[in-house]
């Protein structure tokens, strides 16, 4: 900076001047409104006169007398003012008392009025409440009645439903029974048919094992035999007995032997076999 100042003082001077100018404008620009008030203070001008001493004293005396007078007057005024004040205070107090009394009466009245109003209100309230209660009771009663009715209805409905269910059950049971009977019947028929079929097959097998004796009129002979079987169709040894003879002992014997030979007989397995345990066969030779 110093070297600068030495080398080109003009430039430094210009720069400083520029900044001072800016600062000046900033300060006075910002505080423009504030300055006039500060720059023109009210100057009080003192006015002087040359005066005579005597005259001055006279003037002083007069001044004093005037001052005294003024003071007296002031005292008087003050007294009067005090009196006035006192009177005013009295008056005020009286007024205030009257006001208070009036207010008290008004208050009493207001209270009485309020009480009366409150009473009326209370009565009205009580009446309203009673009315409301009555209404509410009526409503409740109605509701209870309705409820009772609804319950009865529900009970009735439940009963009906129960009856209907019972009836349906019974009906279903009966139908099942019928069905079962029918089934049984059908089964029995089926069994019978099945048994007949087996019996026919058994007869055929016996027939195949039977040797003709060559006796005349042999084909007209018939005999009834009882055969005892075990499951699987095996003929129990000694289980063949003649129930009704054909009248020809040789024929009967031959049939007996044929049955033993034919063992095992074709029998059904399972429950159907039961009817084959003691099988009665009418034997008649086939051609």
């Amino acid at each position: 900076m110093l070297a600068m100042l030495k080398r080109s003082p003009v430039a430094v001077f210009l720069a400083v001047a520029l900044h001072l100018l800016i600062v000046f404008f900033l300060i006075f620009g910002m505080e423009w409104e504030l300055f006039p008030q500060q720059e023109n203070p009210q100057v009080e001008v003192v006015q002087a006169h040359a005066v005579d001493m005597k005259k001055l004293r006279q003037v002083e005396a007069e001044e004093k007398a005037r001052a005294r007078e003024k003071k007296e007057q002031q005292a008087k005024k003050q007294k009067q003012a005090e009196e006035k004040k006192r009177l005013a205070a009295l008056e005020k107090k009286r007024k205030a008392d009257a006001e208070a009394k009036r207010k008290a009466v008004a208050k009493q009245k207001a209270e009485a009025e309020a009480k009366r109003k409150a009473e009326v209100k209370r009565k009205a309230e009580a009446k309203r409440k009673a009315e409301e209660k009555r209404k509410a009771d009526a409503i409740a009663k109605k509701k209870a009645e309705e409820k009772r009715k609804a319950e009865a209805e529900a009970k009735r409905k439940a009963e009906a439903k129960r009856q209907a269910e019972l009836a349906a059950k019974r009906e279903a049971a009966a139908r099942a029974e019928r069905e079962r009977a029918l089934q049984d019947q059908l089964a029995a028929e089926q069994n019978a048919r099945e048994t007949d079929r087996y019996v026919a097959v058994i007869k055929q097998q016996i027939n195949r094992n039977w040797r003709r004796t060559g006796l005349p009129g042999e084909d007209q002979l018939t005999c009834r035999l009882r055969v005892r079987l075990i499951p699987g169709g095996e003929v129990i040894p000694g289980g063949v007995s003649i129930v009704k003879s054909s009248g020809n002992a040789a024929f009967d014997n031959k049939v007996e032997q044929a049955i033993y030979k034919a063992s095992p007989l074709p029998v059904p397995s399972g429950p159907l076999f039961e009817s084959f345990r003691n099988l009665t066969i009418d034997f008649k030779p086939s051609k």
């Binding site: 080398r7 080109s8 430039a11 430094v12 505080e31 504030l34």
Partner: protein, 224 residues
């Protein structure tokens, strides 16, 4: 309250750090403006001198005559004239010493002119870096003052229960003055730096061209 918020009041009531920052920035601003005025004068002079010299140089007169004239004028010559003198002096000296190789003569003169050119450009660029520094750093310095002031303001705010605008505003206003002054110092500096560095660049180019042209002329003379 309005009197309390005027700039003078704010600066006078600011904390010592902020005041220091403001002082520093004002100093930087004064310095940068001084340099601006100085560079303005120097560069204008240099431009004018270059114009004058080119006129004289290309007017067709004898170069030796021109040299003698310049010598007579005194030795505070600068710019193109200084380059010309350096080149011509070297050329004449080499010639009187008996060097007859035109290439060596011209090269010697050119070297001497380069040195002179560098010196001239250096003289023109003087202080420009300071301008750049002021332009780039003073906003940060101002910002530092502002941050400091606001920090103080908030510290004061932390001590009271009820924060009011009246409590914060003066502190922040006073702090912001630092940034304002920083920007005030920086903006002209940056503008001037760009402008003057461009001007120096152009003068440099002119000098360069002159060196080349003069070297060509010298080569022609050396060949004769």
């Amino acid at each position: 309250m309005s009197t309390d918020l005027s700039i003078t009041h704010l600066i006078l009531n600011a904390s010592i750090v902020v005041q220091l920052v403001i002082g520093l920035l004002v100093f930087a601003s004064v310095m940068s403006w001084s340099m601006i005025f100085d560079r303005r004068r120097v560069l204008r002079q240099a431009g004018r001198a270059a114009d004058d010299f080119e006129n004289r140089f290309w007017s067709g007169g004898d170069l030796a005559e021109l040299y003698r004239q310049l010598e007579r004028d005194g030795d505070d010559e600068s710019g193109m004239a200084a380059i010309f003198r350096a080149g011509f002096r070297e050329f004449a000296r080499l010639r009187t010493k008996g060097h007859n190789d035109p290439m060596a003569l011209v090269q010697g003169a050119q070297r001497s002119m380069r040195v002179s050119l560098n010196r001239e450009v250096d003289r023109l660029e003087n202080h420009l870096s300071t301008l750049a520094t002021v332009g780039s750093t003073s906003p940060y310095v101002g910002l530092f003052g502002t941050v400091w002031g606001i920090m103080n303001s908030f510290t004061a705010l932390g001590n009271v229960k009820q924060a009011t605008l009246g409590l914060v505003a003066p502190g922040i206003a006073e702090a912001l003055i630092a940034t304002a002054i920083g920007l005030f110092a920086a903006i002209p500096a940056v503008v001037a730096y760009n402008r003057y560095s461009n001007k120096v660049e152009r003068l440099n180019n002119r000098y360069d061209d002159f060196v080349e042209e003069f070297a060509t002329i010298l080569q022609r003379q050396a060949g004769n």
